[in-house]
């Protein structure tokens, strides 16, 4: 195998003090700032009136009954099932029992709904603004510097990714520009944040983006514009068709089997 001579580029050691280290420190500090901004901006949920709480909690109660059905005996499960299914289908727990079956109000007109959207907007802003600012900052001050060399070889495809802002045709794709160092920092600093802020932190942009995809998949439970009566009916059906098996059935035999004489 012919040995390709390794490209060497003489770089000023000052590059490290004035580009590499500042970018890294700024990335870490922005992550910490974003974490605390998210913590501070978290709105405490507004106090709700009694019928609203009852509407939400009785749905939760039905769900809990379904999830933990196996922990109670069959007669007591049947009694609870009959009660919950009737009450849910009548809409006895609804906030406004007369209005059941009507279309949900437009979420835009509901002030409570607007507040929820504002919260989401704030979360997005906390992510987008620092990202834009730092990208602009790096572009304004540090664009066009080749600062570091990756310790492993890459194919030519990575050249446009790693040498953003440096248009030199023959340079080895191992060399990285300052913008690429920024991108590498985004991916790699998660462990630093884990160490500094605990593993539930909101510092990483990657985690934020994952989180936005996650809750989008699950339907919102008590969101504005969701018809509670429809949820009740669906849950009543779930409970009604549940195949109930008592966990403690035959427990004495299992216990005797586990005892070795």
């Amino acid at each position: 195998m012919p040995q390709v001579p390794v490209q060497t580029i003489h770089r000023d050691p000052q590059l490290f003090y004035w580009i590499l280290i500042p970018i890294t420190i700024v990335m870490i500090l922005t992550g910490i700032l974003r974490h605390y901004a998210t913590v501070l901006m978290a709105v405490t949920p507004k106090k709700q009136d009694l019928p609203t709480i009852r509407e939400q909690r009785s749905l939760l109660r039905a769900i809990n009954l379904r999830m933990n059905a196996n922990a109670i005996s069959t007669p007591s499960f049947n009694a609870r099932k009959d009660y919950m299914v009737t009450a849910l289908e009548n809409g006895a727990f609804l906030k406004e029992p007369d209005k059941k079956g009507q279309a949900a109000p437009n979420p835009m007109t509901d002030p409570a709904a607007m507040e929820g959207m504002m919260g989401m907007m704030k979360g997005n802003m906390a992510m987008i603004i620092p990202q834009t600012l730092i990208m602009g900052w790096i572009n304004a001050f540090f664009s066009g510097f080749v600062i570091i060399r990756l310790p492993f070889p890459l194919t030519i495809k990575f050249k446009s990714m790693l040498q953003a802002g440096v248009a030199t045709k023959d340079m080895d794709p191992q060399w990285m520009s300052s913008i690429s160092w920024y991108v590498l920092c985004i991916f790699g600093l998660q462990s630093v944040f884990n160490y500094l802020l605990g593993s539930d932190n909101a510092a990483s942009q990657m985690a934020q983006q994952m989180g936005q995809m996650g809750p989008g998949a699950a339907p919102q439970m008590f969101g504005p514009g969701v018809d509670a009566y429809k949820q009740y009916q669906a849950e009543a059906e779930n409970i009604a068709v549940l195949d109930h098996q008592y966990t403690l059935e035959g427990v004495e035999n299992r216990l005797l089997q586990s005892v070795k004489v």
């Binding site: 770089r11 050691p13 490290f16 590499l20 890294t24 196996n70 600062i147 570091i148 060399r149 990756l150 310790p151 492993f152 070889p153 990285m176 590498l184 920092c185 991916f187 790699g188 600093l189 998660q190 462990s191 630093v192 884990n194 160490y195 593993s199 098996q245 966990t247 299992r254």
Partner: protein
């Protein structure tokens, strides 16, 4: 795979599973960064660096297995993996993916600093 009835008798508590996974991920994230520092200072390049990473991550997993998982298994009289994790792959290979980006970052940084 456990049947539904066996799951009811000895349930898997989701909180505990998440706690175990999170502890392991944190450990791997942290050690991966430190391995990156080591690989950078040693000046390893290309394959040898990645092999360094794989060997030391597996060593970390082996230490976790030997010091924590295995003794608990011996006490119970069966393999310890089932006690803490859903499968043995979670312990052995999960860490390799978790820490890779952190490893590349610190490896590059310290390689650049040492070989400037």
């Amino acid at each position: 795979m456990l049947s539904e009835r066996e799951l009811q008798i000895s349930p898997i508590v989701q909180d505990s599973v998440m706690h175990n996974t999170k502890t392991l991920t944190t450990l791997h994230n942290l050690t991966a960064s430190l391995f990156g520092v080591g690989a950078g200072i040693l000046g390893l390049e290309s394959y040898s660096g990645f092999i360094f990473y794989i060997i030391f991550t597996l060593l970390t997993s082996a230490l976790v297995y030997g010091l924590r998982v295995r003794p608990a298994g011996v006490q119970n009289g069966k393999g310890g993996i089932e006690r803490y994790f859903q499968g043995s792959m979670e312990l052995w290979t999960g860490g390799l993916v978790d820490g890779l980006s952190g490893f590349v970052l610190t490896w590059t940084l310290f390689y650049g600093l040492v070989r400037a």
